[in-house]
Symmetry: C2
């Protein structure tokens, strides 16, 4: 899976990294059991420091997207604790986006269409 870092972005590198891996999982480019490159090798590939990658991996682990094992390295393993709990998290993340949508006169039907389209072609 291709990962690209924009060094001019205001977004922190470890966040860019985390986001691209989450999107990779959503696109099924990354599946449960797949291994990610080691912290050091990915850092080397991207031209980035080891700790930056480590920070992204640690974040992904804490969010339940992968497990870190000394034997196998970083392995994708999406943990779904409880549907209601997951929906609650989504709810929180969605709040600002919906606020913006309401302000800008975008109807919930418009939002449905955007969501459907995204689920279709992610």
């Amino acid at each position: 899976m291709l990962i690209e870092i924009d060094f001019n972005s205001p977004q922190a590198i470890y966040i860019q990294l985390r986001n691209q891996i989450v999107m990779g999982i959503a696109q099924e480019q990354l599946r449960d059991g797949d291994s990610l490159p080691s912290v050091r090798s990915l850092a080397s590939t991207l031209g980035v420091n080891m700790h930056t990658v480590n920070k992204a991996y640690a974040m992904l682990r804490s969010e339940g997207y992968l497990i870190l094992d000394r034997r196998k390295g970083a392995v994708i393993q999406v943990e779904i604790e409880n549907k209601d709990a997951e929906i609650e998290k989504i709810n929180h993340n969605l709040r600002m986006v919906v606020a913006q949508a309401i302000c800008k006169g975008i109807s919930k039907e418009d939002m449905h269409a955007v969501i459907d389209d995204m689920y279709e072609h992610f």
Copy 2:
């Protein structure tokens, strides 16, 4: 409208401020034509520096939520440039949230329900 700052939050104060004002507009606690407190008075009320408020106001202006006038101060005025353009922005902001939802096994129907609920009781 009540604005509260969490000084222990990892989120920058000017972002908290910006977000709460956008939510205020979405909730119709703030409507077009309403004035916000001046930069200095809001800063004083919140126990925050003038520049921090100024940064939030400047951001809101650049995002088309208010206009800044020396006569009237900061006045809510939501500018909707073009529906497709606004949807495109929402699309961008929504992408990471939907990625997370897909990863965590949340269906688009679940998302619709969350959206509808939010539009209902914002």
